[in-house]
């Protein structure tokens, strides 16, 4: 029992990060049909930039904010310099561009930062909290709380503002969005900026627990992608649920089978989703009335 609770805690913590990465995928996919495989690099940049700014003497909160801001700049640059010039190309080509961008950012991080593992001090110390025989790190609760804040802010923005409605409108019908005068390029750029911010925040939150290095983005992008597929690509709710589910599946597989197979879970999930339910848990089924 205590064991299961322990697996659940660690699964939810890492699942939260997958959920945030999947949310980043979803935002950009909805605005542009592009799967941005550089999403994992946003997470890496958030963590690494914070680490290096903190080492340079900046107070941690300031370093974190500066890291988010600079990752947003990278996201906007990715859109402006790599995606936008090729916008008439097939989405498959754009997806390849994001893979290239991800390799480029990883290489750049190796040069600008270094190749070592880094960590950040946890906000509320590292004394585990005991619940029902299992232990949970205070930082895990910070990760969960941070994710809740991000999701609520995003939801409020999309549901309560006209700009958010324009985001939904663009994903629901891009032609109609252009015909009512929405500058869809601006919307896509905005989705890159928000995805970058969410990724960076996730990277900062998780670094005290999992450490970070220049190449953590690759696996995170694949896991986040698996989570988005599981939830149903294009669905924000699906991204969150898919992320948490994948985290739990991983933790239990690692606990009951072997931790060596942990990373295989995400790929089994991708295969299972493709075979059994390509539209995922919350994927759209289109209904048209005439």
């Amino acid at each position: 029992m205590a064991e299961n609770l322990q697996f659940a805690f660690s699964g939810l913590t890492v699942g939260t990060v997958y959920a945030l990465v999947a949310l980043g995928f979803t935002l950009i996919y909805n605005a542009s049909d592009v799967i941005n495989f550089a999403q994992g690099e946003f997470v890496m940049l958030g963590g690494m930039t914070t680490v290096f700014l903190a080492m340079a003497g900046l107070p941690l909160p300031l370093a974190a904010l500066a890291a988010i801001a600079s990752t947003v700049v990278v996201g906007l640059a990715l859109h402006r310099l790599a995606i936008e010039p090729a916008r008439t190309a097939n989405p498959i080509v754009l997806i390849m561009i994001t893979i290239g961008a991800s390799i480029f950012l990883r290489g750049l991080a190796q040069v600008v930062f270094d190749k070592r593992f880094h960590t950040l001090p946890p906000i509320f110390g590292s004394e585990p909290i005991r619940i029902g025989g299992a232990a949970i790190l205070p930082q895990s609760l910070v990760v969960l709380a941070g994710a809740v804040v991000i999701v609520v802010l995003l939801w409020a923005f999309v549901d309560r503002t006209l700009f958010g409605k324009a985001l939904i409108a663009t994903s629901a019908n891009r032609l109609a969005a252009r015909l009512v005068g929405i500058d869809t390029r601006q919307i896509v750029g905005f989705s890159f900026a928000v995805s970058a911010a969410i990724g960076a925040a996730a990277g900062i939150l998780i670094t005290p627990i999992t450490l970070t290095s220049f190449d953590v983005g690759t696996l995170l992008a694949l896991k986040g992608f698996a989570a988005a597929m599981l939830g149903g690509i294009g669905s924000a709710l699906g991204a969150v649920v898919g992320g948490l589910l994948l985290g739990l599946l991983e933790a239990f597989a690692a606990g009951y089978l072997s931790s060596q197979y942990k990373d295989a879970v995400a790929f089994l999930v991708i295969l299972a989703v493709l075979f059994a339910m390509p539209q995922g848990l919350f994927g759209k089924t289109r209904v048209e009335r005439v």
Partner: protein
């Protein structure tokens, strides 16, 4: 008000418009009629800027617009009701209308919504419903209402009668006539040629990417060739 000169447009390597020239004067209803695939929709898409143009000019109120992005053309006063309505289906009726006014950020929504609800009272009753749950006729009304929210001086209407029962067609085209009385200029594309010419001042007949006939609506209605080809008499 709008003049399209020798416009050419392609889908991939296939040219869909082979040099089309159309003129719309302020206050007119001009109908484009022609068979399916003649290029009518392509022409409207090109005027709105969502279809690439390979040659020719589009001049709106003395200003060449063929190089402008689609959203800038909306801001200039050209709104389109696209074929198949193209609503934002998951979004409520009222938010669809508000998004119609996207290019006019400083606008008082209430003052803009009232005339649309007056024109189509059923939209007011269903203002909180998701657009995708409306019936076909209501969807067409919403599509027109959304375009009106942009405050256009020129309204492009693509097949507003498509898939609607005759009584609804009458209602929609009646609304178009009322809009004309408020000073709106309309370019109407229809396969339902007799209905389209009945409310129009002038008309153009489009065939395989070319204008093959044009003139006053009454003349076209009386023209033997047009009657045989498009009116089924």
């Amino acid at each position: 008000m709008l003049s399209v000169e020798d416009l050419k447009s392609c889908y991939g390597r296939i040219e869909a418009l082979h040099g089309v020239s159309v003129e719309v004067r302020a206050g007119e209803i001009v109908s484009l009629i022609g068979a399916n695939g003649a290029g009518k929709t392509t022409l409207l898409r090109a005027i709105s800027g969502v279809q690439a143009v390979s040659a020719g000019r589009i001049v709106f109120e003395d200003r060449p617009i063929e190089a402008l992005a689609a959203h800038k053309r909306v801001a200039l006063g050209i709104a389109q009701v696209p074929e198949g309505r193209q609503l934002f289906e998951p979004i409520s009726v009222e938010d669809n209308l508000k998004l119609g006014a996207w290019t006019r950020r400083d606008v008082d929504f209430k003052a803009e919504l009232d005339p649309v609800y007056e024109l189509f009272p059923v939209l007011f009753q269903r203002r909180h419903a998701a657009a995708g749950t409306l019936s076909g006729g209501q969807q067409q009304m919403l599509a027109i209402g959304r375009a009106l929210m942009a405050g256009p001086r020129l309204l492009l209407l693509d097949e507003p009668s498509m898939g609607l029962a005759p009584i609804l067609v009458e209602q929609i085209l009646g609304a178009v006539q009322r809009l004309k009385q408020t000073g709106l200029t309309v370019l109407l594309v229809e396969q339902n040629a007799s209905a389209a010419l009945a409310i129009a001042d002038r008309g153009y007949v489009v065939e395989t990417g070319r204008v093959v006939a044009s003139g006053a609506a009454a003349e076209l209605l009386a023209d033997k060739r047009v009657r045989a080809a498009y009116l089924g008499v």
